[in-house]
Amino acid sequence: MSFLFGGPRPQPSSAEKIAAAEAEIEMVSNMFNQLVDTCTRKCIPSQYREADLNKGESVCLDRCVAKFFEVNVKVSEKMQGEAAQRGGAAGGGMFGS
């Protein structure tokens, strides 16, 4: 999830590192659960006529994951950009550049 925590920063304390690592694990886990929830809603019709994924559903899921990542990148870039504008020199914030 490097796009969420990217960029150089002042060295954090080890407590901060652990907290950031835990937060990152939980973030990735949440993001995966959201992905499953969102992309199955988008790609799998709720009649469940067959137990297998058909070709169309499979391709839809692949594209859904790709687009979901792209949206994450765009949103986090946007938020980093805005944080940088506001935060200015100080830095060290969540999305500090």
Binding site: A19, M27, Q34, K74
Partner: protein, 76 residues
Amino acid sequence: MEKKQMKDFMNTYSNLVQRCFNDCVTDFTSKSLLGKEEGCVMRCVDKFFKSSERIGERFQEQNAAAAQGAGPGMGR
């Protein structure tokens, strides 16, 4: 408490992404975001923050009023 803040931030971020993705990305014939989808997502994010800010202002006013007008009188 800092951990709690980080968690809250994460939740807000996740909900934001999920909402904007859900509302804006509806075409799965392509593998990359379409221009109009990306535009929609960007406006969605902007609008979400502006909405949250405005709601936050009203929320604080209401909370302050509730704290002052205390008890029975406040529910009007």
